[in-house]
């Protein structure tokens, strides 16, 4: 289960949008502008006709018809486009399953090939995210209960490697996803016996196989293991599938295998709710129609009062407790002077309550605009909607209101009357009346703890110093890139395990890892970047055939990738450093490849003398004959964010433009190995005199950040 939770966090509220879709959107936006301009023109003409008492021009009517048709088509196109934008390839979801299946098969000693078919099938993003858990459950079942151990398979005349195929097919109104294994199948008799033994079914009676398997708590495992046997699984699968109005089917043949078929209808609308609209006081409200049981008018005589429950009435033999809608939302109750009370009975799961309102307005299709979660709002209100006539109303969250009415959820404590909040909008829009603070509904609470929780304290300030150099868009871009890069790295590694000879895969993994390391470094996630660096060394060893791909090494590498992914997913929150045993294992694999300690790079200059080869000595003699001077120059510098050896190397190269470098301390060979601190001594010959050398060094100092420099003319040949 821990893995399931881990996978869940990988879903992000962002998605990539294809450029062509944006172009289409731009085109449609243009059409909207044109249509609206046309309507403006029509209004002007109609007004002119009206002012002149002329009959309404017929061509105007035709034009209105055309505009109407156009706007209908544009809305349809817009809707289709948004639906298309929401689609993602199912393959991105399926990829998440490779690692768990691989680990599970390895733990259980199964040899399983996981095959994806139709990975390019497009499904809605929300479905893609919700599908991970159910698919994982079915795959676990397939590996654990379906696929037999290799020996058993060979004995039964099957290839020792089992096959699990996940296929996705796009049908006209639904997406069909099949999970098939060629394992032992499900034996109906055994299932029945288990159901009888565990009291899930009266002994002797029968039920469809799938229904039995989907019963909450029903398990075929004889013992609880890490992978299955907890009795959760297929019931979860079914509930997710039903959440999307889908169906699940089962085909199984003992000895041959099992196929689960999920049929999930395509989403037809985004956020469009069939709603019942109503008025309560000055406010307009909408309720999702599927939660409305009935709307009716009742007379005071029907209302009874109970001590503990307040007012109630009986509807179809059931006691319905009445609650004033405005009161539930924390405002003044409606005046009770009417002869007849308008009541809407709403249902949340098995609980029903009656909401007292002022007036029904009728059913309507509405687009719910959810509130920004980071802004304080009453959880009883799901969002806003534009009602017929352009007025603004609130969409209610019935589950929350029913829970509140039943006393399980408390309304946030009342706030000061001046803090009117946006609920006033809905009321004010009604018939143009201005609503005074005392009349306003006030669910907005800044000091409510539940609300404060939803205000996310994320932002550039939460990032560590390294990442704060970039703006938020850059950071989220980096994180996105990092996440998808790590996923592809994992893919490459998993494929590599199956075919270790593919150097292309190894190179691909290396490149992905390298890019991820870059992103981690940019995000100042040092511990993770360091781990990535060592992992890179390990891959380099594999690439150079200094190491071989073994399942244990693959475990190690995949665990490293998991750690890196968790860092990426937790960002900008800090994450605990990588587990020491992981780092230790990695180090032992790459003993010779680890970075040297920076302290070792400091090379003591004091007491060291230049070593001149005979060739160099000859060079010095020639230089002296040319009338040049030899200097011993001592330099210290601040290398800033660059490595000292690099700056030292660049300084030497620069000095070389003005003369010949004869020797240096540390030696050039040492500098090339990175062994260099922020001080160097150079022996060089140059046509410049002492003043010229100082000038040169001064010019150099600005660009190389020299802290101090001194040059002394020197004769390298001593009389001994």
């Amino acid at each position: 289960m821990a893995k399931v939770a881990q996978l869940k966090t990988q879903s992000v509220d962002r998605m990539h949008v294809r450029l062509e879709h944006l172009d289409t959107l731009l085109g449609l936006a243009g059409e909207v502008i044109i249509t609206s301009a046309n309507l403006q023109e029509l209004e002007r003409r109609a007004q002119t006709a009206l002012a002149r008492h002329e009959p309404f021009p017929e061509e105007c009517l035709n034009a209105i018809k055309t505009s109407n048709e156009a706007s209908h088509r544009i809305s349809q196109d817009l809707h289709d486009l948004v639906m298309a934008i929401r689609l993602v390839e199912i393959g991105d979801t399926l990829r998440l399953l490779r690692r768990p299946v691989r680990d599970l098969s390895r733990n259980l000693g199964r040899d399983v090939e996981l095959i994806f078919e139709g990975s390019d099938t497009m499904i809605d993003k929300a479905l893609a995210e919700r599908l991970v858990d159910p698919l994982l459950h079915m795959l676990r079942n397939a590996v654990d209960h379906g696929i037999e151990p290799p020996i058993e398979r060979t004995r039964g005349g099957k290839p020792s490697q089992g096959k699990i195929i996940i296929s996705a097919v796009d049908r006209e109104h639904a997406t069909q996803i099949c999970i098939s294994d060629d394992g032992r199948g499900i034996d109906e008799t055994t299932v029945l016996e288990t159901a009888w033994d565990s009291n899930h079914l009266t002994r002797g009676s029968r039920a469809p196989l799938l229904d039995l398997l989907c019963r909450p708590g029903f398990s075929m495992a004889t013992s609880v293991s890490a992978t299955s046997g907890r009795g959760v699984g297929l019931d979860l699968v079914r509930s997710v599938v039903e959440e999307f109005d889908g169906k699940i089917e089962l085909e199984t043949e003992p000895g041959k295998g099992t196929t689960f078929k999920l049929m999930i209808p395509k989403l037809r609308a985004v956020n469009i709710v069939d709603a019942l609209t109503l008025r309560a006081g000055n406010g307009l409200f909408a309720l999702p129609i599927e939660q409305v049981v009935a709307s009716l008018g009742i007379v005071p005589a029907q209302i009874q009062t109970a001590m503990d429950q307040g007012k109630y009435f009986t509807y179809q033999g059931q006691v319905i407790v009445l609650h004033d809608l405005r009161e539930l939302l924390g405002s003044e109750p409606l005046p009770r002077d009417a002869e007849q009370l308008s009541v809407v009975i709403v249902q949340s799961r098995s609980d029903r309550i009656g909401l007292v309102i002022s007036e029904f307005l009728g059913p309507q299709k509405l687009v719910n605009i959810p509130f920004d979660e980071s802004l304080p709002h009453d959880p009883g209100v799901a969002g806003t909607s534009v009602f017929t006539g352009g007025r603004l109303g609130l969409t209610l969250d019935i589950n929350e209101l029913v829970a509140r009415a039943l006393g399980t959820n408390r309304l946030p404590a009342s706030t000061s009357a001046s803090d009117q909040g946006f609920l006033g909008i809905g009321a004010a829009g009604d018939a143009g009346t201005t609503v005074g603070p005392s009349d306003a509904l006030e669910p907005c609470r800044a000091d409510c703890p539940e609300i404060q929780k939803t205000v996310r304290g994320q932002g550039p300030s939460g990032l560590s110093s390294g990442a704060s150099r970039f703006d938020e868009a850059d950071v989220s871009g980096l994180i996105d890139e990092l996440r998808s890069g790590l996923q592809k790295l994992q893919d490459a590694l998993l494929s590599l395990e199956a075919s270790p000879q593919e150097t292309d895969l190894l190179n691909e993994a290396f490149r992905r890892l390298h890019a991820a390391k870059g992103n981690l470094t940019m995000l100042a996630a040092e511990a993770a970047a360091d781990l990535a660096h060592h992992l890179e060394t390990m891959l380099d060893f594999l690439r150079a055939d200094r190491l071989e791909v073994t399942p244990e090494r693959m475990d190690l590498m995949l665990d490293c990738v998991s750690y890196l992914s968790s860092t990426a997913n937790a960002f900008p929150n800090p994450i605990s450093p990588p587990p020491p045993e992981l780092v230790e294992k990695l180090h032992s694999e790459t003993k010779t490849g680890t970075k040297s300690d920076p302290a070792e790079n400091q090379v003591e200059l004091i007491g060291r003398t230049f070593e001149l080869s005979p060739t160099l000595q000859l060079q010095v003699l020639s230089a002296l004959k040319r009338g040049e001077h030899t200097f011993e120059t001592y330099l210290t510098f601040d290398s800033g964010r660059q490595a000292p050896f690099l700056v030292a190397y660049l300084i030497l190269r620069r000095l070389g433009l003005y003369g010949s470098i004869l020797a240096s301390l540390p030696s050039v060979a040492e500098i090339e190995k990175g062994k260099c601190g922020t001080a160097i001594k150079v022996l060089w010959s140059t046509p410049l005199d002492e003043a010229g050398v100082n000038e040169t060094l001064e010019a150099l100092s600005t660009h190389h950040n020299l802290i101090e420099y001194s040059s002394i003319p020197t004769t390298i040949f001593r009389y001994e």
Partner: protein, 137 residues
């Protein structure tokens, strides 16, 4: 030392840099940082694309910033091929990479790169290095 302020006196109007990196995000970061230093930016996503661009545009390019690890043609090969190119006029070439081990860094320098910036970089080091490579001939 205020490298950023000093760089503004060095950069002539219309100075253009070619940024070579396979990561679109890194290129975007480069672009925003370079543009705020008044340097125009052209982009390439690997060495091959960069060579094709430079062969046409070497005259109008005053600075080349390149990643090392890239698909198709990496930074090492790019350095080498650029130095070999008959049209290459010595436009300063700075490598920017996370590959900060001495072997790689010295290797690119020996292949003809003028300087090296470790990733992650900030505007200051960018300004310092650009100032350095663009003032020395």
């Amino acid at each position: 030392m205020d490298y950023i302020a000093r760089l503004s006196s060095i950069i002539a109007p219309g100075t253009r840099a070619l940024v070579i990196d396979d990561s679109a995000t890194t290129r975007r970061i480069f672009r925003s940082q370079l543009e705020s230093l008044a340097i125009e930016v052209a982009e390439a996503s690997d060495g091959k694309e960069a060579l094709e661009y430079l062969e046409r545009e070497i005259e109008s390019t005053q600075l080349v910033l390149s990643d090392i690890s890239m698909p198709t043609m990496d930074g090492f090969e790019f350095c080498y091929r650029l130095q070999q190119a008959p049209w290459y006029d010595g436009t300063p070439l700075v490598m920017v990479s996370t590959q900060s081990d001495a072997t790689s860094v010295i290797r690119v320098l020996k292949l003809g790169a003028d300087d090296y910036i470790p990733k992650p970089f900030d505007q200051e080091v960018l300004a310092q290095v650009i100032g350095r490579v663009m003032t020395h001939g």
